[in-house]
Amino acid sequence: MPDHVAPARTIPDALPVLRERGQHEVFCGLTGIMWLHRKIQDAFFLVIGSRTCAHLLQSAAGVMIFAEPRFATAILEEGDLAGLADAHDEIDRVVTRLLARRPEIRTLFLVGSCPSEVIKLDLSRAAERLSKSHGPAVRFVSYSGSGLETTFTQGEDACLASLLRGVSPAPSTAPTSLLVVGTLADPVEDGFRRTFDALGIPVHFFPPRRAWDLPEVGPGTAYLLAQPYLAETGSALDRLGARRLPAPFPFGAEGTRGWLAAAAQAFGVSAARFEEVVGPAERRAQAALAKIREGLAGKRVFLFPDSQLEIPLARFLHRELGMELLEVGTPYLQREHLAAELAMLPSSVVLSEGQDVERQLDRCRAARPDLVVCGLGLANPLEVEGITTKWSIELVFTPVHGFEHAADLANLFSRPLLRRARLKV
């Protein structure tokens, strides 16, 4: 079935990468809680951190709804730093209080931060201890969202990997099924589920909407990454014997086709059936994209590192919307998972990993891009300098995957340019 095979790969190592150290203008992994606490509905995220961590969550959430978040911070105080034994007692006290007030919690994530890591507060030990005293009604899992180890979306990676810890592999006799990995907006997930149903592929999504509904994972599992930032989760799945289906990521019509095709191929779906299911949606997406392309083709784009979505997005912007790529930054380059994506980038692209934000801004200003994709700290100041920006966090907080959202994704990039052209003030 050569028809729906993912695009051929060249040697991605050929692309040179600019590696930088300096100030990173990025969020830490705690930020992932913003969407994880909405996605996993029976879980609560308790950050063991400082006032800074609490303030970060509050500020990042400032753009979001205030109502009843399923997260909180246990703020370390002077006394907690004195002795670790006392700090563990304090955790127990805080957790007991929390569970008394939120009896519906089924999984409690103890989330480590920079301060908890520096004082070597062992949260996995705390999780074990708490499991004994409060289990089995509540399960305790720990992971680190600290800025010392995780950048923005890597917090989700650490969280998902922690859920797989302690899972034993399903027997190899278990029937083969597909696991889609990475948080997706609910409408996107529902859409993909319908597509896989139509293709006759048995599918599970991870993370599940209830943390207890962990799918069986073992040698019979083929998994498809829905997000490009899941290095650790991928390794955990590999260890359980699951098999990763190499594919581009489902951004844009082309990426979505390649992504679905990888699954179709692995599950022996006929080319005819594949076209029947995928064709109409794909054509609809292409038609919608064609209109948006007019406003973007030939425009030059510069992407600052943020969510690790940058490389797949750059591929989409370049190949489907005709944009010229100046620099594509990523906080961390996971070559293996991104192989199919890297193969589709033009050889002229400048890739950068890590960041020295001042130098990168110098390069950005010198390149005079038509559009800059960057974080909230940089966007308005660049606008003041006359540079049009798209703030990147919206890419993580909006349904952008799959055929039905390809045009929405493209619009996120065209709207700032359109707006600038419209305004006469």
Partner: protein
């Protein structure tokens, strides 16, 4: 450990950033991991500042911890100096850096940079944002302003300094403009505004002024005290409310040998007349709950009582540093002060008091929304809405106008309230109606029960056993009372019933209770 979902104040280094960002010629080198850069967005998104804050984060990561975070700090300091060429370098540690004890101050001084280096001790595990701002402002002033008495320059008009405004302040920008205008009318020039807009060189001139206006004591108190001691400069409190502004004018006149009568008489302040206008009668003894930083909360309580005729039924602050002042103020209204930075405690308090109006912060705005109560914002923490495009000071005579509008607007208007009481069976007066002029922001019919709030949930009403029972008829009558006073009516009636052993509650009990509490 303190369990927190939302906090009133950020960490102390955010206070330091507010000072550095407000000033000119200052750069702040913060020893911190990458994620702490989120703080930039407070300034670029919430305040919509046009430039990035002048802050460099050293961005140390796990791999640096074993080896050399100090070296990283050195490099960052050199590079930041080379690139930004500040007149003064501030250095400090975020919460994480405080734990690794690299001594940023020592390292930075050892570099021999040709500019003053001011090192901050931010105590991230004890202190908070306002304290951090006050500490930073004090340290910078001490570094820039020689303590030797400066000869006052000869000039025709007296001069004063305005102390306390920073970046990311609640209406600081407009307050500075308003107070400057007011002083000008009083024949006084402004020498230095600081930290907002001041350079280190400007701070050197702080002694060359006749007095200081302490606009925001949370930030400027320690500096003003030092200036007072060193240069014998008296300090004046901020002009908040009509009376506060009149007092301010008289005090300025007394200090400068001028006359404030004309300025007071000719003021364009509409609050006194609007408040006396019969239309405002319905404001009489409206029960308000006030919460905010200490200075705004104290002033709001005074203005609410004296200038709008409200009744203060609760007063509190999250500024523990000024707990004493708030307690004193609360005592004068016969209420006990609520001193806490736990918003869940504030929520419980408001729910129990059921005021007719909440004057608070963005946090109380959300709480009030959940409880279906009208609310106006009087203090930080700030939100993008607290940076309106229009001129909107809190201080001076124009500030008093703004306060009148902002506080009265969320309330039911007089006749509207009467109509609701007269025709409460009108289907359009259903419970989900807020003041009709508030459109979409009207309080929701069934405010999400407090129990739905995070860790919030005050233990569910398990204690319901000793609650008096209501007869069906009385319950029906209660439903006819407009929703915004119904909670209070219910509680009062139940209290009455318990006190006088009148259970179950009948129609009679309801009206007896009403009479009892009206007396």
């Amino acid at each position: 450990m303190q369990l927190a979902v939302w906090t009133y104040e950020g960490p102390p280094h955010v206070g330091a950033m507010r000072v550095a960002t407000g000033m000119k010629g200052v750069h702040f080198l913060l020893h911190a991991p990458q994620g702490d850069t989120y703080a930039d967005l407070l300034f670029t998104m919430i305040e919509r500042r046009r430039e990035r804050p002048p802050v460099t984060y050293t961005t140390f990561a796990a791999r640096d911890l074993g080896s050399d975070t100090a070296e990283l700090f050195k490099t960052a300091a050199r590079e930041a100096y080379e690139r930004f060429r500040p007149e003064l370098l501030l250095v400090g540690a975020s919460c994480t850096a405080e734990l690794i004890q690299d001594d940023p101050g020592g390292i930075a001084s050892a570099l021999g940079l040709p500019i003053p280096v001011v090192s901050l001790e931010l105590s991230a595990y004890q202190r908070k944002e306002n304290w951090g701002a006050a500490h930073t402002f004090y340290k910078i002033v001490r570094a820039c302003c020689p303590a030797t008495a400066q000869p006052r320059t000869e000039r025709s008009r007296p001069r004063c300094n305005l102390l306390g405004p920073t970046a990311l302040g609640f209406r600081h920008r407009d307050d500075v403009a308003e107070v400057t205008r007011l002083l000008d009318r009083l024949g006084v020039d402004v020498a230095v505004v600081a930290p907002l807009g001041a350079s280190p060189r400007d701070l050197a001139r702080l002694g060359d002024a006749d007095f200081n206006v302490v606009m925001y004591p949370e930030i400027a108190d320690s500096v003003a005290r030092w200036l007072g001691k060193t240069f014998a400069q008296p300090m004046l409190a901020a002009p908040l409310g009509v009376n506060g502004t009149r007092t301010f004018c008289r005090e300025v006149a007394a200090l400068t040998g001028g006359d404030a009568t004309a300025v007071i008489d000719e003021s364009t302040c509409r609050l006194p007349w609007y408040s006396r206008s019969i239309d405002s009668t319905y404001l009489t003894r409206k029960q308000v709950f006030v919460f905010g930083d200490a200075s705004h909360a104290i002033a709001a309580a005074r203005i609410a009582t004296e200038e709008l005729g409200f009744e203060v039924i609760g007063l509190g602050t999250y500024s523990r540093e000024f707990a004493r002042e708030v307690r004193e103020a609360a005592a004068s209204y016969g209420v006990e002060a609520l001193i806490t930075d736990d918003h869940l405690a504030v929520e419980e308090h408001i729910a129990a008091l059921h005021p007719e109006l909440v004057l608070g912060t963005q946090m109380e705005r959300h709480i009030a929304k959940r409880l279906g109560l009208p609310c106006a914002v009087i203090s930080a923490p700030v939100h993008v809405q607290d940076y309106p495009a229009r001129y909107s000071p809190q201080m001076g005579f124009e500030g008093a106008n703004v306060l009148f509008d902002t506080w009265v607007h969320p309330l039911m208007m007089g006749l509207e309230e009467h109509l609701l009481a007269m025709f409460r069976d009108d289907f359009e007066f259903a419970d989900d109606r807020g003041p009709s002029h508030l459109g979409a922001s009207a309080p929701v019919a069934a405010p999400t029960p407090v129990a739905a709030a995070p860790v919030a949930a005050p233990a569910p009403a398990a204690a319901a056993s000793d609650e008096p029972r209501w007869t069906e008829e009385a319950e029906r009558e209660l439903k006819k009372i407009p929703f915004f006073v119904r909670g209070k009516a219910r509680r009062n009636t139940e209290r009455f019933a318990r006190e006088f052993g009148r259970t179950p509650i009948t129609l009679e009990t309801l009206y007896d209770a009403k009479a009892h509490f009206q007396a």
